[in-house]
């Protein structure tokens, strides 16, 4: 408690002399532009997103291509499950991790593989055996090609990052245009009781730490697949 008051005291003392506002180096401080003003305009400054759903799908698709996210657009839930089954076969999955969610109903049956469910707790060593983690999501963000997950919508913290392949099942109406819209969605959905983890996943895990050469699958998944119906 004591150190808290010391620090706050030093801050208040320092702030008793105003600092120049940005872009006004030789003028004393004035009131900065209000946050509401900034919030209104952020959408106008960030990279643009077209108005229609088709625009957003196209943008998400093109971002996914850049990021090496495998984006599969299908027309029904059945087709979506069929896609996951196909990936399982081609990659030779033996065991997967997932969680209980209306979006993922029928996955177990479709795959016919052992499925580790994270709800209610699990053993990390069991998850380490899984070839893939299959989750739902809160949103897809067209502007950045991101998948928005939380610990509540995606089976906890590790499911979307520990297994080497992360598969997301999403619906078209979960596609939001941009980051401001994504944060608005989070506030609307969870305000007052946020999940302890919120994460924007933008492509597979990557590193450029060795000679700035891109390598996928540094620690997180090497592959991210988004199946969207």
């Amino acid at each position: 408690m004591n150190e808290r008051e010391n620090i706050l005291g030093r801050i208040r003392e320092a702030l008793s002399v105003p600092a120049p506002v940005p872009g006004a180096h030789d003028h004393p401080s004035a009131h900065p532009a209000s946050e509401a003003e900034a919030a209104k305009h952020i959408g106008e400054w960030l990279p643009s997103v077209g108005p229609s759903l088709e625009d957003r799908i196209e943008l998400f698709r093109s971002n996914s291509a850049d990021l090496k996210t495998d984006f599969r657009l299908v027309n029904s839930r059945e087709e979506a499950l069929a896609q996951v089954k196909e990936i399982a076969a081609s990659e030779g999955w033996k065991k997967v991790a997932s969680h209980a969610d209306p979006m993922l109903e029928g996955i177990d049956a479709a795959l016919g593989l052992p499925v580790l469910k994270t709800d209610g707790g699990y053993n990390v060593c069991d998850m380490e055996q899984c070839d893939a983690g299959i989750s739902a999501c809160d949103a897809l963000v067209a502007q950045t090609g991101s998948v928005l997950v939380t610990s509540r919508s995606a089976g906890g913290r590790a499911l979307s990052v520990l297994p080497p392949h992360h598969v997301v099942i999403a619906r078209r109406d979960q596609l939001v245009p941009d980051l401001p819209a994504a944060f608005a969605l989070l506030k609307q959905k969870y305000a007052g009781n946020y999940p302890s983890l919120i994460s924007f996943i933008t492509g597979p895990s990557r590193t450029g730490d060795i000679e700035r050469i891109l390598v996928l699958g540094a620690h997180g998944p090497k592959k991210v697949t988004v199946v969207c119906y």
Partner: protein
């Protein structure tokens, strides 16, 4: 300028690095790639400059009302079960973290990238106290194995070739040599996997802290921070107090700007907000979360209103990436935690002007840093102010005298004119001593030819016109 040991070391290392053409080429190549990517991302913004101004204004609000925001942050963090600690200085921060680690009898600690951890020499303290701590970020892991500090706060191993890294892994891990970056990465992935799964404690930093919702925001590409904050039972966050942002949606602006300016990406791979330890009903996550709020002379910098905006820094590294000094001397030459232009600005405040003022002078003031900074910190002008502050406190007597004499000379044109004529004579004899220890211009003539006083100066030409 009086020379302290730090300044002398700086000059010595700068001399070595600037002559290393291999290093020059490696860093230039790496940062050229960055510039191309950054320009591509920037051009996608509808109005990059307006975005910068807005980001600067939000940070101004954040720092200039920091007491209010910090109180709100702490309140909201504590409401969801996080323990908030206030550390006035590095020692207190180390003690707090050691306290948590001892309480849990931690056998193994895993860390994601924490620059404030470097600042307080946390790893050293943990290791001396007998705890095993491993860096999980690939670049940090590599420099940790080499027992050296990070070379760049976003790309810690930028100075190493794949060959050097392969040799390092063979030596320390016993792995077979390889020149494939992919294989080297997979080696680290395998080694660190084990650490994540078994670590008792995960320590992370914070890129931002949201006051409104009580969240810590962490940006990364590898997923190592995601794992560090998911699997161990205890999560400790160490962050500078200046990292606070007022509102959750501020991240909609800051995350893409951090990615663009820092690495030329649309968005970094994982941008994660942590609101507390595992909540009821959640499948996993740490049972305990601690946030250590660190001052460590940030309030000293805050008390300098002229340079206070240096606290707006989000450690994106954009200024390093374009700094011609950084490109030629590399990250280690600075000899302090924070390198490049931002390091040169804040280090005298954080670590004392006496030992670090030379950093303000080791710049041509080109301004590329200020131009590239996504939050419009007036970096190169702060270096100028730093020089003024340093000389006001401790002028170098002969320099001051020289400038006084020069002022007299410059204020008396006939004297200046005479000086030029004498220079014309002097330069006939200068070749005799050029480059020798008695050459007063040796600092120049060591590597360059001196300019000649013209056969006819401008004022002589002007006189002759009449």
């Amino acid at each position: 300028m009086s020379t302290t040991q730090t300044a002398a070391d700086f000059k010595k290392n700068a001399t070595t690095l600037t002559a290393d053409l291999r290093h020059r080429s490696l860093i230039k190549g790496a940062l050229k790639k960055y510039e191309v990517a950054r320009d591509a991302r920037k051009s996608r913004f509808q109005d990059w400059q307006a975005a910068r101004q807005s980001a600067a204004e939000i940070k101004w609000d954040a720092v200039n009302h920091l007491d209010t925001h910090l109180v709100e942050l702490a309140k909201n963090l504590e409401a969801r079960g996080t323990q908030v600690h206030w550390a006035g200085n590095a020692e207190q921060a180390r003690e707090i973290i050691l306290g948590v680690v001892r309480k849990h009898n931690a056998r193994s600690i895993v860390k994601s990238k924490v620059m404030t951890g470097e600042e307080i020499h946390l790893n050293d303290a943990l290791e001396k106290a007998g705890f095993d701590v491993v860096e999980s970020d690939l670049g940090e892991y590599i420099v940790q194995l080499r027992h050296e500090p990070p070379y760049h706060f976003v790309f810690p191993a930028m100075h190493l070739t794949r060959g050097e890294i392969s040799k390092l892994f063979t030596e320390k891990l016993g792995t077979a040599p390889t020149d494939s970056p992919e294989e080297l990465t997979m080696i680290a992935r395998r080694v660190l996997r084990d650490k994540y799964v078994n670590a008792d404690i995960g320590i992370s930093g914070a890129n931002f802290a949201i006051a409104e919702t009580g969240m810590i925001s962490i940006t990364e590409n590898e997923g190592n921070a995601r794992l560090t904050c998911a699997l161990p039972k205890v999560h400790i966050v160490l962050m500078g107090i200046e990292k606070v942002l007022p509102k959750l949606e501020d991240l909609a602006l800051f995350l893409p700007m951090l990615a663009t300016a820092g690495a030329g990406q649309t968005l970094t791979g994982y941008n994660t907000m942590y609101g507390g330890p595992r909540q009821p009903g959640e499948a996993d996550g740490p049972l305990e979360m601690h946030v250590v709020l660190l001052d460590n002379k940030r309030t000293t910098l805050m008390a300098d209103p002229e340079q206070r905006d240096a606290l707006h820094c989000m450690r994106c590294g954009a200024c390093l990436n374009v700094c011609p000094i950084y490109k030629n001397i590399g990250g280690h030459t600075y000899g302090c935690t924070y390198q490049g232009p931002i390091g040169a600005v804040i280090t005298p405040h954080l670590c004392g002007m006496a030992d670090w003022k030379h950093l303000s002078f080791a710049s041509s003031l080109c301004g590329a840093c200020t131009q590239n900074c996504p939050v419009k910190i007036d970096l190169h002008h702060h270096l100028l102010q730093g020089r003024r502050n340093a000389m006001a406190r401790n002028p170098v007597w002969w320099e001051k005298l020289a400038f006084q004499a020069l002022a007299f000379l410059f204020n008396h044109a006939p004297l200046f004119s005479l000086g030029m004529k004498l220079g014309r004579i002097g330069q006939i004899f200068h070749p005799l001593i050029k480059g020798t220890p008695v050459d007063p211009a040796i600092a120049w003539t060591k590597s360059r030819e001196l300019p000649k006083v013209a056969p006819q100066t401008f004022r002589e030409w002007w006189q002759n016109r009449k």
